[in-house]
Symmetry: C2
Subunit: 430 residues, 2 copies
């Protein structure tokens, strides 16, 4: 099977109209996809995307075109015979690399291509991605990972050891997964743009649906935030779990002061308290707010940054993003790093399509890497799933495993037409 | 004066033909500029650029177009009445920010615009940029800086203190600068693609021109590298200064081992020993190779990263890049951070146009921030200066101060036509 075409599309959903997704740093996002279809000589397609929040999505589309020559004409079996080399080929072009390296637009676009390749591979083998990964041997899994710049903390042999330790339990973990899925938390109730009473109404609705873990956006005025935090704690009671998300707005000392000022409401974590590049700042915050944990990752741009956050004790919950990282291969690297430091994988989702992606990564982690653990919480937002051919299934606050072959990335054809920017009907109608 | 047009151009020089600029990570760069001209209602233009190494330059051009609406129609006096807010406006658009934040293509493009704005301002005031900055009061200088996410290490007041301490000596520093410029080092002799005898020939030629500081690219086979290092040391004698540059190719333990294996040749620094994102790795290397220093910065993407490198003792020489950082405002922030930790500013140059830019920043540092110091070495490569309207003047291994108003960014009109990609004559002829 050979790749004969690489076709990116600019897909945008006008979510800023309702302030869905609003937070302290991102007041009005239009959730968007740089969507890629890989065509092959056998007719099977690979679908993948990267996620952005509106303006600038055209740059990721352009970057996919700039990278396309690295994927075009690839033989799929050959590409997956040496998966780390294939990954390095896509993210390591010596001239394009200057634009990152391994960060920003060029890495986001690389993720779309890498993810589409894995979707194609999973379809070719007739398995959902989580199952494909969970069936690989420890040797095959480490062959997917580029260990460059990781080896002071995790090298191939150490990663192999971790995977071999988990191997005997794989069958039992998979039965558990099929039986009851993996736990999720909801962000749908607590967007910053929602008035307090809307938050209360949504938390109550969530409790009725069986949710126990709720995330609230914070980062405006402290008093205002305290009131919102109190409202959620009041509604969910002492047994509910409350997470907070500041979306990068604080200075390091302000973050410490702020979190300690709401510690009486016992939040599980504070997410993105400051700049996502600030490893040392996060470590200082982690020290200053224990036992509240620091969660971060959605803007942590590559495995070298995760290595540092994890080793520094600056990340108690690893919120990897399936698009910010360079696709599946780098996500595997980060899952192994997190296992090395016994930090749970709690992937970033929401947006559009992110839940569809990350469920596969978290399920692979459950089956083949870190095993059963209740602190592996996958974010869930009840939004925009209806546009996907194989949408997530979340029941009783748990993600249930996808059965369909692929990486769940494919959009409905009608949605692709309607939300194409700027010519789709959803945008023409504005 | 109001900005009435923002016009980017894709300019590329086919430098890969001769392996000029070759190193361990970048074997065949085509030095390129995303070149921007700001037009105004008064006719004065602002010129600026960001630097890339070839493929992908089109993405920075596209990103300038995506950012243009943030600059178009700006009143120049108003923009410079609140320079930090203007900077934040350009790098902080809430949707475009997702593509970084403050890194990669979107930040490189922001730098082109910010630098063009400063070029325009300097022309409007009739001063070269170094002089414009050196004439600003401490208060005006800190007003240029966005202190967000820096304040655990350097806030506005602490920065003001540093600048005020340097203020009484400004006049004397400026006289020194006019008299004898600031010291430089040369990279022209030691590209990795050059055979050993070519390196020897070039070092000899450099010595005859008055150079005493030479940088050599390393990072291939240790034995091969040792031979090249020995050659340079042999030629420059015990009083010459030798720097090494590995361009990111090593793992942390390999870097330590390698540098210690050439320590007998007494290099001043090892540059980019590993991933440019790896603050903790650089700190570990710095500990393991003292008294050899670690130099890095050309791929360090924003002030938050510099804050960490400097505070961690992971950067003994601060090689800021005028384009990787978000232009002049963020360069001022980094110069202040370096001053805070008493680390010399040794900017990244070479490429095309980088020397023209960074001389202004280093001269500003000399006059108004860190004062006279012989360890402030500005990189120099004798290459492509002939395309600029106001090229650098380097004599006796020292940069002499530009006299012409602006930021020395303007290309000759004929060069702009000839190297326009892909339609210019230099590319059509291939």
């Amino acid at each position: 099977m050979r790749i004969t075409s690489v076709t990116p599309e600019d897909i945008r959903f006008p979510t800023s109209r309702n302030l869905d997704g609003s937070d302290a740093m991102n007041p009005a996002p239009d959730y968007s996809l740089t969507y890629v279809v890989l065509g092959t000589d056998e007719g099977t397609e690979g679908h993948g995307f990267t996620f952005t929040i509106g303006r600038g999505n055209e740059l990721c589309v352009a970057a996919v075109n700039s990278l396309a020559h690295l994927v075009l004409d690839l033989d799929v079996d050959e590409a997956f015979a040496e998966p780390a080399a294939t990954w390095r080929r896509i993210v390591g072009d010596s001239q394009l690399r200057w634009l990152g390296p391994e960060k920003g637009v060029i890495h986001l676009a690389g993720a779309a291509l890498v993810n589409a390749l894995w979707d194609l591979r999973a379809r070719q083998l007739g398995k959902p991605l989580w199952k494909l990964l969970s069936d690989l041997s420890p040797e095959q899994l480490v062959d997917c990972v580029d260990f460059r710049h990781l080896q002071d903390v995790l090298d191939r042999d150490a990663a192999l050891d971790l995977l071999r330790k988990a191997e005997p339990a794989r069958a039992e973990r998979e039965r558990e997964l099929q039986r009851s899925g993996i736990p999720a938390y909801t962000t749908s109730a607590g967007w910053l743009g929602y008035p307090e009473e809307e938050v209360r109404r949504r938390v109550r609705a969530g409790l009725e649906e069986g949710w126990r873990h709720f995330k609230l956006k914070v980062g405006r005025e402290l008093e205002d935030d305290r009131r919102r935090v109190a409202t959620v704690r009041e509604e969910i009671g002492p047994d509910g779990v409350l997470m907070l998300d500041a979306n990068q707005v604080w200075e390091v000392p302000v973050a410490i002061e702020w979190v300690n000022a709401v510690a009486d409401f016992s939040p599980l974590w504070i997410e993105e308290p400051t700049s996502p590049d600030d490893v040392r700042g996060h470590a200082r915050i982690a020290e200053g707010i224990a036992p509240v944990g620091v969660a971060t990752g959605e803007h942590v741009h590559n495995r070298v940054m995760f290595k540092q956050f994890l080793e520094a004790g600056a990340m108690a919950y690893c919120q990897l993003d399936a698009c910010r990282l360079g696709g599946v291969n780098e996500a595997i690297a980060v899952i192994l790093l997190a296992r090395r430091f016994d930090v749970p994988i709690c992937p970033h989702a929401g947006g559009v399509g992110l839940s569809e992606y990350v469920q596969h990564l978290a399920m692979f982690d459950h089956v083949a890497v870190s095993g059963a653990r209740d602190d592996r919480l996958v974010e869930y937002v009840d939004h925009l799933h209806e546009h996907f051919v194989d949408p997530v299934r979340v029941e009783g606050a748990r993600y249930l495993p996808p059965a369909r072959a692929g990486y769940s990335a494919e959009l409905d054809a009608a949605s692709r037409r309607a939300y194409r920017f700027p010519e789709g009907s959803a945008w023409r109608a504005r």
